[in-house]
Structure formats: structure tokens, C-alpha cells
């Protein structure tokens, strides 16, 4: 009785607090993005909370494509994203299998080096020099290599931990039947990695899709990607404070990741929290 009476005010107060927190911390920025993306250039010059007098959303979107090279930039982003994610996950999973199963001193050292990149920040300036020397500076291939090298540690860290939880007997049964390592890995182990591969794919995709820092150094000015173009649109004098275009751009480039998030919400949440609270 007493606890019920005490809890009752919080039953009303809690949803109210949630709504107020959402309105002020998320509502204001999100509202500004949406209404400004629908405004004309003149109205958008001074960002505010007012609705556009006339929605010009379609016009702004088509301008981001025609002048902001949105289409080319999307292709550029995908050109980097797909091979990087595919490469880092496939090669990372293969390495993780051997690193998880063999416990020699040498491989323990290899594992430590393998996961060093989880903490050590990439040395971007020497990376540029190295790419220049091997003729890959300014090329998509060079940046793909950088992304694969950079996120390899995260992938090895995730997948090795996961493989250690898979009983080795599963492999041994196949081996008795005469399967070679390639077959054991691709037929037995790889299909079991589904959940961890899905999580790592989403995380690495998120990093690469949103990366501007490393892209700026390696392919800046030579290849269009979504964040690089946003950076150029927003920092060039020509588009200075064309908030309607900047926010249309932001809306469009966030949309794919938002859709992924909506459909894979549970996977993402369990992925980012796994291992963090044990």
C-alpha cells in the first residue's frame, strides 16, 4: 500500500520528465534540421525554430545533387565502404580463428599486436607519406587499405573473443570426416560468426560512412565522399551559411544509417553493450 502510494507520483512524473528531456535535448536540434532543410536560402540564412513559409524541400534536395554532387559522393562513399568492410571482416575473421585456437607464445604476441589498434590512434601523417611512396596516395585503394589496417584490431578483438566461446569439438567432428582447414573454417566456423560479424559490420560501416578525418588526408580533393563533400560545402565561402543546403545534405547522408539502425536496432544494442558490462 505504502510503496504504491509512493510510486504513484513517479508514474506520472517519469513520462513527463522523459518527454521534456527529449523535447529540449533532441527535439530542438532535430526540429532545426528538418525545418531548415525545407526553407529557401533567404529564410535559412538565420537558423531559427520557425516553420518555412513555403516548403522547398524538394528543390533543396535536387540542389544538393546538382551542386553538392550528392550522387557522386554517395557512390564514392560506397566505393570505400564495401571493399573495406568486406576485407576487414573476412581477413579479420580468418586471423581470429587461428589466434583464438592456437596458444603458442608467438601467436600470443601476434594477438597483442593485432589488438593494439583498439587503443593506439592511427598515425595519419606517416600514413600519407607511406602511401606516397607506394603510389597509393590520393587513390581509393590506398584509403581502403588504411581503413582495413585501422579497423583490423577492433575486428580481431571482437571475433577472437567470440570464437573462444565456440566449442572446439564442432571443428574436430568435421576434421575426423577429413575436412581441410579451409573447409572447417568456411563451413563450420564462419557460419557461426553471424551475430558478431553483423555487429562488427555495422560498427565499422558507421565509422567509415561518417569518417572525414582520414579521408581528408588521403583522398581529399580527389574523390567525393559524403562527409568530405559536406565539409567542402559547409566550409567553402560560396555556400557560407546556406543552412538549407547543409541540413538537406545532413538529412540525406544520415538516412541510410538511420534505416540500418531501425532494422537492426536489437543487434546494434546487444553488440555495443556486449563485453562492456561483464
Amino acid at each position: 500500500m505504502l510503496t504504491n502510494a509512493l510510486q504513484r507520483p513517479s508514474r506520472i512524473f517519469q513520462p513527463l520528465a522523459v518527454l521534456l528531456t527529449m523535447i529540449f535535448s533532441l527535439g530542438v536540434p532535430f526540429w532545426v534540421i528538418i525545418v531548415t532543410a525545407g526553407k529557401s536560402a533567404v529564410e535559412a540564412r538565420q537558423p531559427n525554430l520557425a516553420l518555412p513559409s513555403q516548403w522547398e524541400f524538394g528543390k533543396n534536395i535536387s540542389t544538393t545533387f546538382s551542386e553538392g554532387n550528392m550522387g557522386v559522393a554517395s557512390l564514392g562513399s560506397l566505393l570505400l565502404l564495401i571493399p573495406s568492410v568486406f576485407g576487414v571482416l573476412l581477413l579479420g575473421a580468418m586471423a581470429s580463428w587461428v589466434l583464438a585456437r592456437r596458444k603458442t607464445r608467438g601467436l600470443l604476441i601476434a594477438y597483442t599486436i593485432g589488438i593494439s589498434g583498439v587503443i593506439v590512434p592511427p598515425a595519419i601523417v606517416p600514413i600519407v607519406l607511406l602511401l606516397k611512396q607506394i603510389g597509393l596516395q590520393g587513390t581509393p585503394l590506398g584509403l581502403i587499405g588504411v581503413y582495413i589496417g585501422m579497423y583490423m584490431s577492433t575486428v580481431i578483438f571482437f571475433i577472437t573473443g567470440f570464437i573462444r566461446t565456440i566449442p572446439i569439438e564442432l571443428e574436430e567432428a568435421a576434421r575426423v570426416d577429413g575436412a581441410n582447414p579451409m573447409r572447417v573454417f568456411f563451413r563450420i566456423i564462419f557460419p557461426l560468426l553471424g551475430p558478431v560479424i553483423a555487429t562488427a559490420t555495422i560498427l565499422v560501416s558507421l565509422f567509415i560512412w561518417n569518417d572525414v578525418f582520414y579521408a581528408l588526408f588521403v583522398v581529399g580533393g580527389r574523390l567525393d565522399t559524403l562527409p568530405l563533400n559536406l565539409y567542402q560545402v559547409a566550409s567553402s565561402g560560396l555556400y557560407l551559411q546556406n543552412w538549407n543546403l547543409i541540413f538537406s545534405y545532413i538529412l540525406l547522408m544520415t538516412l541510410p544509417m538511420l534505416l540500418v539502425f531501425i532494422f537492426a536496432q536489437r543487434r546494434i544494442i546487444s553488440g555495443v553493450t556486449s563485453g562492456a558490462v561483464k
Binding site: 535535448s25 581477413l91 592456437r102 576434421r175 578525418f213 588526408f217 544509417m257
Partner: protein, 308 residues
Amino acid sequence: MNAGAKVKLLLKRPRINAATKAHSTHPIWFIVPAFFFLIIFFIVPTVLNFVYSFTDWSSFKTEVNFSGFSNFTQLFSSGNLVADLRITILYAVLVAVFQNLFGFALALLLERDTLLNRIARAAFFIPVIMSALAVGYVFQAVLEPKGPVNSLFSFILGRPVEIPWLYDTSWTIVVVSVIHAWKWMGLAMLIFLAGLKTIDGEVLEAARIDGASWFQTLRTIRFPLLAPAITFNVATSLLGSMNSFDIVQATTQGGPGGTTELLNIYIVRAFGQGLFAQATAMSLVLLIMVMVLAFPLIWSLRKREQIL
């Protein structure tokens, strides 16, 4: 062969067998492609970082020569080194504090499994999946002197408010760290929520029966049991924000008057000016600072976990 040697040989045999067996069942070439990329694109540049920091490599010269500590003495005497290092550490500490405060408050607020709470949790995760650069531009617009936030304050207070959020030489660093924390608070929230879920409900029920208040159970039971979540959140927010660039570049570009110039902002600027060796030297400073902080931080937080 004496008996001792025979025993040794017998003892040795299974180990050799195990090693050769592992070699054929889990061949070493499986790790070769991964380590090829890791070594070429990550390890080698990290090693080169140490080498090139002590050269005069720049866009104005055709050859690269060793120059001792001249990059560091130059960075030190110009004041850039101390200032940027101080700003980066301050930024990282502020981000860690705000991100965890916001994340923890949200986790407590949204702990119960109601429909509204589930929607709110998903909504607070949206900034995490947004580009940091985009978040920076959004806040540049929202925090303009005559922008939405100031007009809201004006409306609430009933008098014109024009706070220069992003143009204040002493407070803007706090504002940008709050923006950074805003972007990542959804992640901290999820990790705290997962941590709260691991706590045994019976323990809390027992405490409640004994008459403990909500705040008492929070302080004496739940908070200590959240140690692993706190470890993870503090370590990732502190170390992650040291390598930050996008948000500050999009909001202040290091200004006003260089008061928000993080190490990475300097590195991009120096590189753009062709001062490659100086940019490299500064990135070595960042690398060493992260390493110096990372190991004791993770070690001490882990140790605290064991005690609690």
C-alpha cells in the same frame, strides 16, 4: 641413451605432436593477409611516426634530413605544444564527465521497460549514428548568437538573450565538449542500462524491505555494482575524445583565438601548410599521451572493479 634422456624424450613427444597438429589444423597462413594490412597500414606508419618526428620533412624541401629535437623545441617555444596538449586533456576530461553524467542520468530515467522509454532509448541513440561533422554543423546553427537556443532562452526569461556560445575564449571549450557528450551520451546510456540489468533484483528487493530509500540503494548497491560499465564508459570516452577532430572543426575550427585547438586540429592545419614533420611530431605527442593515459587508466579502473 640413459633413462633420464628417454623420459625427457617421452615427455617431449606429445608436445611436438600437439604443435604439428595445430599447425595442420589451424595453419599460420590464415593470419597472414590480416597482418599484411595491419602491418603495412598501421604498424609501419606508427613506427615511422617516431622516425619522422625527428626530421625536417616538409613540402618546401626535396630531401628529408634528421634534425634532432628541433620540431619539439619549435613546437614548445611557439607555445603550441603546451597549449594544445592542455586543451586536448581538458576537452577529454570534460567529455568524459559530461558523457557519463548524461548517460547515467538517462539510464536511470529510462530504466523501466515501458513503451515510451523504449522509444526514448532509440531516439537518444540517433546522435550516435549521425556523422560527428554533421552534429557539429547542427550545433553551429543552433547555438548562433541569434539562433534557436538563445531565442528559446529569450522566450523563457522574457528578455533578449544573445549568449556567444561558440565565441567565448574561456567557455567555448566547455560548450564543444558538451556537444561531443551529447553525440555520444546514447552509447553511455545503453552501457549503463545493460549494467543496471545485470544487478540481481532480489538484492534490491531485500534492501527495499529493509527500508532503504531509492537513493540509498542507488548509492550503496547499484552504483558499486556498475563498476564494469563505468570502467568501459570512462575509458572509451576519455581516450576516444583525445583523437577527436570533426565536432570541433565543424563548430569553432579551433577558435576563438585557438582556445579550442585540439592536437588533431593543429595536425590538419600544419599538414595543410606543408609542415609535415611538425604535424608528425604533434601526432607523436598525441600517441604518447594516449598510451601514457591508457594503460594506467585501464589498469586502475580494473583494479577498482576487483576491490568493489
